[in-house]
Symmetry: C2
């Protein structure tokens, strides 16, 4: 996809996967003016440790860059310096300037795996808020009504259920909206949970005499389980700093349905190429497993480079075809220990009973030779022990 | 009343006429510490043109001064400089520094008729708000909840009826409350419509680690009609810059019931003396008219001095006993004009018919001689014409 694409072609491609898009017509008109657009996305200034779920919005930003647009990567350091003023949220103490700068550097190191640094401007909203007189902030607050703020889903629920809402919580969406004014954003991207705040920005720009930004929200990425949103706490995630092998293997583990969602939200493939790929799988010309390998390689290549992606794919293939992986966990066991106990010690099985069943069913091999004797004792030295198809350990005896 | 009064005596005297008083116990404790208290009252920075209704709070401030306390006369110039940011209220454009300073001088000229300048500190809240970082203002906003703000009567009504409330309107009570923090106010006085805002200050001081201010609110003064609150627009007021004669006469026109309310809210008489006065009237030892004269003299003396008050009382008495006033409106009429037409020209009557009835009923006198001929023509020269008991004009013929 080149930046020679017409405004209509760009809009069509950019619309992929969006939840909210207000409005395609406005975006086409803005692109049609022929200047690179300011595409804003805001991020917390807390320590970033991104997983693939966070990269959905980054991928959309990348797509804008591929069309020649200008990314405004906004770090919300102003609110970060305030912390949680109610003091109720102890996990959100105010951040020092040093912490915020360090976090910004970590962000850059991570997001520039996806974004082109040449077309990315990293901005900090303390730049305008730290200099703003309180009087101007009050004027900002006059641009929005209490009733409209209470229409935000979470506020409405809390108000109706009697859960306190501090007044400053009404000010944050306004501050976020004012960022768009200060940045002269043409487009703002965010997660679908950010829709309300993005619309506030759209409204405020109008109040301040600017053309309203286009608002595009992206869905939450479904995790490895194919059911719930990807999150650290659910354990169904792929961290973007995970090693190539892990990234590759985890991606291969997702269902076919999940694969197509990931393709839509994470792949650089153009929509036309993606449609073609789906058709090939449907027609039986492409095995879904191969499509999954292609996706996994693309993801690994993004964070570790093409060579690492190829290596991860080759090793995965070797293991899948019965070969042992390059590296595996290693355990020391005393001379004379039965392999049955060794399997338990290496955590290749959960219990002695499971180890026994594995051996009896022919699932154990030692140094590529099947072992079916449950009393088998390993000779001194190092041995590659394989339990079932995919589990390996190196047992060092003596 | 001297400043030797005990804390309990002060509290009793100061409680006179209050609508809300939170709490007498706290006030007694604060006074008991032996230091002059900071007594805050806030005023709009708009052009002041005070009537007696405004002086109810000023009288309470004066009483505090008489007990040796320190008055903080706060002019809310910060919000005045913002104006009405919604632009909906065209009568409230932002005020310039020059306007605010000029208004402050006018205020001083008026309020120092009541307050002792030596014990009054004139303060401006832009002093703290113009230097406050927005972050601190957001922290301030975190100290109060949306639900509590919506409990304020007018907000509740507007929210329920769907009348828009701009978010900045929630910020003004917080700003007013923060004034008390910045000023370390021990007491805040205001009209009873200010109760909510004064309580916000009470709560905020606690949040900022200060002892909460005592809150005292005063009722609205009933106007000359004895029915509605005194106000410019209803025309039932006495402006504090009105001439002595007007002030005196208008005060004499109020009902006995209204008189006692005015005594309670406007007079310097101690509560003990006031109780005694009421008893004398009840017992028939003092004519209510005399009590009203005493009140009118006190009010005139406050704004124009004791000599002017005596003169106004004497003139009023002379007119009441049939004498002509020192000054009266003067009208020129052509030679040969009937007195009947002269009465209409001088607006002593509303119509020719009324003039005719007046003359027929014996209500007209010219130069102290009764005239009962409706065809009477005034001789050339100046004549004092009296219609009924109290209406006079000077008619100059030819």
């Amino acid at each position: 996809m080149s930046d020679r694409a017409t405004p209509a072609e760009q809009v069509k491609e950019l619309s992929r996967g969006t939840v909210d898009f207000l409005t395609p017509e406005e975006l086409e008109k803005k692109i049609g003016k022929g200047k690179p657009l300011n595409v804003k996305a805001g991020f917390d200034p807390t320590a970033p440790d991104l997983h693939l779920g966070h990269t959905v919005v980054l991928q959309k930003m990348r797509r804008f860059q591929q069309f020649g647009h200008h990314i405004q990567f906004l770090i919300g350091d102003f609110t970060g310096r305030i912390g949680d003023p109610t003091g109720k949220n102890e996990t959100r103490p105010p951040l020092s300037d040093e912490q915020i700068n360090a976090n910004a550097e970590t962000y850059k190191a991570q997001v520039f795996k996806i974004l082109d640094p040449e077309k990315t401007e990293v901005m900090f909203n303390a730049a305008w808020f730290s200099k703003m007189p309180v009087a101007d902030f009050i004027k900002l607050a006059s641009k929005y009504t209490v009733a409209r703020m209470l229409e935000r889903d979470d506020f409405e629920k809390r108000y109706k259920s009697g859960t306190p809402i501090s007044i400053h919580e009404f000010l944050y969406p306004l501050a976020q909206g004012y960022d768009s004014v200060a940045m002269k954003a043409d487009v703002e991207l965010g997660g679908s949970d950010q829709k309300f705040n993005l619309l506030v920005g759209r409204g405020l720009q109008k109040e301040y005499g600017q053309e309203s930004q286009v608002v595009m929200t992206m869905p939450l990425l479904v995790g490895l389980d194919g059911q719930k949103k990807m999150s650290k706490s659910l354990g169904n995630y792929i961290g973007i700093t995970e090693p190539p092998k892990e990234m590759f293997g985890k991606t291969l583990s997702i269902s076919d349905a999940t694969m197509w969602t990931w393709y839509e939200l994470l792949s650089d493939l153009s929509t036309a190429d993606l449609v073609r790929k789906k058709e090939e799988v449907t027609a039986g010309r492409l095995h879904p497993k191969q499509a999954k390998v292609d996706l996994a390689k693309e993801i690994v290549a993004r964070f570790h480079g093409a060579a690492a992606a190829r290596a991860a794919a080759e090793e995965f293939e070797r293991v899948a075809q019965g070969g042992a992986p390059d590296s595996m966990p290693e355990f020391r066991i005393a001379a004379g220990t039965k392999v049955l106990d060794g399997l338990v010690a290496a955590k290749l099985v959960g219990s002695k009973g499971e180890a026994r069943r594995l051996i009896e069913q022919g699932g154990l091999s030692v140094d590529d030779a099947k072992v079916s004797d449950i009393a088998f004792v390993l000779a001194p030295g190092a041995h590659v022990v394989r339990a079932g198809k995919h589990k390996f350990a190196r047992l060092v005896v003596g």
